[in-house]
Every structure is written in C-alpha cells, then in structure tokens.
Symmetry: none
Subunit: 414 residues, 2 copies
C-alpha cells in the first residue's frame, strides 16, 4: 500500500499529517504492508506524477484530501484523467449531499454538486459524517481509493467501507502485530548492546529501538497468518528480552510511568504527596491526569520560593542557609516535610535548577535532587540533566516517577 | 525542496510525522517551495529509490531520521552509496560525541562511533542537542541534507546551520509570511461572522481560522517579494482585524496565555500563588514553564483532599461542610487563603470535578469554580466544561489564565 496525502496546507506545514499515521496503523492491523507515504499539493501535474509513481510500486494506493467542493479539490479529476475515465453525475451521492444539508436546515451551495461527480465505473463510498463521498477505482490488479481529508470523515469511511473492501479483495494478508516494551533508566546504545544477539538474528519478529523523551522503547513486530500466531511470536521474544533487560521495563504499549505508579499505589493502598520546586507542579499534574488518582494522591506544594519551602513544607530555614535550596539535604527535608503535612505514606521532594537562569557556583542549570521518603526510611538521588527548561522539568518528573516505582517495588519485594 | 522522512515507525503509524510539517513551515518562511514530502522505512533498497526520485525532481532534499547509533540507522550509508562516496571517520564529530557522554558521566557505547562516520567530502553539521551530527552533501546543483529524527535536535540544527546554508546557497526565493492572532473566549463560527467581510474579500493576505484547544487562531498569510513587503501586508490586515475582534486577541504566533500572563505580572511587578484542586498542578506547571517565572510565581498548593484545603490553604472546614468542596465559596476561600499564606498580591483558587468519577447530585463532571483574589477585591466564575479528564483540566487552566489576564488588565486600566 502507498498512502498519498494531498493538500497544499500540508506542504506549507500548516497542519500535521495525522491521516497518514492513523491510516498506516489501521492498514498494518489488517496485515497490509505500507511501504511508502507521499504528500503532494493541489497541483494537477505534480499530483498525477505522484499517483503514477505510487501505482508503479504499490498494489493499493489510498489518497486523502481533495474531495471537497472548492476549485482546489482536484483529486478525483486527476485520477480520472490518469485512467482515461470521464466524470459523471452520481445521483445517489447528489441526493445524499442534498439530504445532509436539508437535515441541518442549511442551503446547499451549487459547488457542492461537484462532490457528486464521479469517475465512470467507480465504486462510490458513502460518507456518513460529511458531504464528500469516497471513491474506489479498480484498474487491472491495482486499486486506487480516494478518501476525504477531515480525519473524522476519513476514519469513519475507512472502518465502514474500505477495510471490508480490502479484506474481501486482497484476502487475508496475514496479520502484523506490534508490542512496545517501554524502558527507563538506560541509554539507547547500552540497551542495544544488551540485546545485540536478538537484534542480529532478528527476522520475524523484528526488533526496533526508539528513543522517546527519557525512555527507550523496544518495539517487537511479528507477522503471522493469524492474530493468535502473531501474539505468540511476540510473547516468546518478549519473555527472552525480559530476561536480559526486564529491570528497565516499566510498562508496555501506551502505558506511562504515571499510570504504572498510580496502579502500584492503588494496589498497595499507599498515598503520596509531593513537594515540587523545579518541576513546578508538573509531576502533580501528571499524577492527577490518571482517573481515580484522588484515591492515592493527597496533594502537593509547589514551593518555588525559599519562604514557601519553610512555611508550607516545613523545611528548616537553617538547612537552606547551610546547604542552599538546591541540595540533597533540602530535597530530603521536603520529602519528609510534605509527607508529614499531608499525612501520606510516601513523600517526594524535588529541588533543582530548571534554567535558563538560576545557575550559581558549583550548581549548574540541570542540577536536580530528588528524595523519596517512605514509612521507614528515605532515599535521595542527584541528577545532572540537560536540555531546555521544559525538558529538564520532564526529565526530573520522569526520574522521580521511576524512583517512586522502584521504591514501592523494593518495599513489596522485601 | 523535497522532505524525505525515514523510519519504519512512521510506516507502522506508531508516531505522527511532526518533523515534515515543522520543516515545511520553516522552509516556506525562507521562501522555499516544498513540493513533495515522502516517507520510507529503514530499508536500503526502498530508501535509495525514494532518494533517487527526490533528487530527480527537487533541488534540495532534506531527510530526517536514521542517523542514530543502531543497525537500523542507515540514511547516511544509503545516500553515500547512491553518490558513490565512502564513509570515513570524522574526528571532530567523534570528539564531540565523546564529550557529550563525558559531560553526562556516561560511558560511550562502541556503536556511537558509527555516528561519527561521514560520507567523504560532506559538510558536517554539529548537533548541540544530541549525539548525531547532521550532513550536507552537494552533488552538482543539488543538495542532500540529512538531519536527525528527534524533533528537538532536528529543529536546533535547522535554525543554527541549515537555514543559513540554504539562504547563502539558494538566495532569496521570495517570501511567504504568516502571523497568527490567538483568541480566547469566543467560538469559531461567531468569530467567523465578526470578520466575514474580510474572509470573503481575502486574496493576499489570506485568512484562515483554526480551532486549537480552547482557542481560535486567525492565521494571516501574505506573499511578497521581500520580507518587509509581506510584513507590511500582514500589519495592515492585522490592524483592521483588531478593530473587530481585538478584545478576544490575547497574543500572537506561538505566544501562550501563560507567557502573556507572565509578562503582565513582570511588568506590573505583581506576584501570584495558586490553590489548585481539579487542575492538579497543571496551571502551576504551565506558569513555571516560562523562564524567569520564579520572579513572580510564589508557589502553590495542590489540595486534592478536603483536609489539605483546610490545613495547607486555610479554607474553613465549616465552609466545606456547608457548601461542598466544589463551590464558589470554597474557590474564593482558596484564592484568599493561598494569597495570604504565600504572601502574594494575586491568589487563584480552582475547584471542580475533572471526572470521570466524582459527580454528585447537582454537581456534574466538568463543573468548575475559579476565583481570583487581588489586593482589593475578589472575582469568581462558574464553568461547566465538557470532555475527558485531561480536556477539563486544560480548559479550566485556560479559563483561569484568561481571568488573571483580564484581572490585571482591568487594574491597570482603572
């Protein structure tokens, strides 16, 4: 399959092409290989050129965009030209478009009539979510499928009509499935070295590494004749990989660190409270993104000033005077202070310099101390992060979440 | 220009291709025409095929991705092959990569050495934000430019090295410029009606409306022979638009509500403190995303439990008993309480039900009260937001920011 996205707004960078990725994901789940994606503007010559190339190297070409009522919407015309087909009025489509406007009490502009013009012999795909019908054109053993640009319309049409068409006409292409193992606390190259054997002999399933924020994702992709067989291939490799790098894997697929920590806290019936300085509330916000977090999240103090560290968290002023606000001692006092004030089992203290300003002698931008206080004991960590302010905030929050995860794991293990 | 995005994860639909749109936007602002975008996986044959096509129809080919240390990273090798160039070790790059690891106190994996292998004769682009250097290859009147996949690294390199290179070697290609007027507090159709005259007669500049989170963006795009002429066209239209919808415009281009509020606070030498319940620290995090926010942001309390509202913010327990935690009275007590405790000029209280659970009789999910307390007086507002948990958090934070903005404006105006 080749996906061809049309629209000058894409070439101008005014919108991000989410259609290409959502189509690709759906097609892969049907077991179809997407080998190329192309984007071209609303220009007849270049669009014909891109479609010709696509037809030469793919069995199925799926376009998005350019089915609207305006003069810039030319996709159907270009492909009809290319295949030597005339455009003819498709009565059922015209009636459907008229009904769409009537049901909303709106007048239909004359230009909407263009949307009912179809290449002769085309299979017309109804659009239950908008005015532009889609089109399937068959030439020899190739299919060209035109879908509208608005994602909501495109996706509806794909599920309702295109997926069934593809499965019927191109049979079962087998099944491609992926699973992502999400790791934290190890670099890409080191992780690769640890599983180098598996990477070198990879075939089916394949293994790919992907760096995402502070995480490295290990993607396992299997192809098989059935969903069950693909799942089994993935499960076998996953088990082997976990024996090598299990300690770094915190979750799978779309799971986030905050989801994992939230689940741990719920399961262990523990509550948590935070004293955040350089992360400025980010960690609280991420923890409270999880539905039901009020069961374990007691609250937090964002103590940006020394004064608020003393008054709202209970850090001794003398400690700040002796060690500075960015120090292991203050991080630990923040963790125990907030734990006591919010009456939680776990307290987290984070203090650091997010930058770009604020660096002092021996304390550069990116220096962050994180402390985790529990029912019996406290642990603290020093980090030197890099990147812009927002990255330092995110990396600090990720590190803190991972320490909380390990803290709860170790308590449960012991 | 043709943009070639590489990476099997794109073909699998696992990530959305934001690099293509951000590159396209930057290139258009330099006056370069982006005519095609292509995406191909980590496959030597198909990548060579796509690069060959790109070189046949574009003067400048810019790739993203595939410069990492792993076996799947093949972009440089494929293009070196295509141009008949050998890969040779580039000492300065190796030293830079070694320094990058050393500065983080991490060991360098042997595979990172691959990132310093460059096609002979290449112009090497340093990467100040990561380990993968970029490459410019010149063949005849064509340029191939390889940039890394991580957006932060790619963007840094584009601004620092690629844009200057393109301007020097390909001169001034005319100029397309855009400016976005960001509005808050009005719907898309109402805004469209207010500026219908301008939309109907648009030509150059053009006008486009775009709904983004709770904001409506009005994008003005002008084309002219020089940057100055394009700016002038935009400035003229902007002035006319501001006369119609100026009260809703809070900023332009990439300006966020939190930046605007931060600037206002700095200018008026006011400090702020927050008591957040349903927003869970999101508003604090957004305010502290702004460099220099420690000058005006005193701190905040995320008071998720009733107990923390009483103990850490000073809300009278009786008030919660009488009106419930989600009420105008409690929002106001939170705003004045946090203002007093953090000794700030402005206090903000937000209490509501982010959902999906937590609704009670007469208090549905999405009900949010926001109060702003200032040196002389307090204002409060009731909202009924819709959407999932994260949307309710974001909409509440946006509304609160806009109220703070208006609060400061009204004080300065009076």
């Amino acid at each position: 399959v080749e996906i061809v996205s049309t629209g000058t707004e894409l070439l101008l960078g005014q919108i991000v092409n989410t259609n290409a990725s959502s189509l690709a994901k759906q097609l892969n789940e049907l077991g179809m290989d997407v080998l190329f994606q192309s984007t071209v503007g609303d220009n007849r010559v270049r669009m014909a050129q891109v479609l010709t190339t696509a037809l030469s190297r793919a069995d199925i070409v799926i376009t998005t965009g350019g089915l609207g009522p305006t003069q810039g919407d030319i996709t159907k015309e270009v492909s009809a030209d290319l295949l030597g087909l005339k455009l003819v009025l498709h009565e059922p489509s015209l009636q459907q478009i008229q009904a769409y406007f009537a049901s909303r009490g709106l007048p239909m502009a004359a230009s909407n009539r263009r949307q009912a013009m179809m290449p002769e012999g085309a299979i017309v795909i109804p659009n239950s979510r908008g005015t532009a019908p889609g089109v399937i054109l068959v030439k020899g053993d190739k299919s060209i499928i035109h879908l509208p640009g608005p994602p909501y319309e495109m996706e509806g049409m794909f599920f309702q009509s295109v997926a069934p068409y593809l499965l019927t006409h191109f049979g079962n292409q087998g099944c491609i499935q992926s699973k992502v193992l999400r790791t934290y606390g190890i670099g890409e190259s080191s992780l690769e070295e640890m599983i180098a054997d598996f990477i070198h002999k990879q075939n089916n399933p394949t293994i790919a590494l992907l760096a995402r924020n502070s995480e490295i994702h290990v993607r396992i992709t299997a192809k098989a004749s059935s969903s069950e067989a693909a799942s089994q291939l993935i499960a076998d490799l996953e088990e082997s990989l976990r024996q090598k790098i299990g300690q770094y894997i915190f979750g799978t697929d779309d799971e986030t660190l905050e989801q994992v920590v939230g689940r741990q806290l719920s399961a262990a019936q523990l509550t948590i409270a935070l004293a955040e300085s350089c992360t400025g509330g980010l960690l609280s916000s991420r923890l409270t993104d999880i539905p039901g977090s009020s069961a374990y999240f007691r609250g937090s103090v964002v103590c940006y000033s020394n004064n608020s560290k003393v008054l709202a968290v209970g850090v001794p002023q003398g400690l700040i005077n002796r060690h500075g606000a960015v120090s292991q001692e203050v991080a630990e006092a923040m963790a125990t202070g907030i734990k006591d004030r919010m009456a939680s089992e776990i307290g987290v203290g984070i203090t650091g310099i997010a930058g770009p300003g604020g660096a002092v002698k021996d304390k550069p931008v990116g220096l962050v101390y994180i402390a985790i206080a529990g029912p019996s004991g406290i642990k603290s960590y020093k980090h030197q992060f890099t990147g812009p302010r927002s990255a330092i905030k995110h990396r600090s929050a990720n590190a803190a979440l991972n320490y909380v995860r390990q803290f709860i794991l170790s308590k449960q293990g012991g």
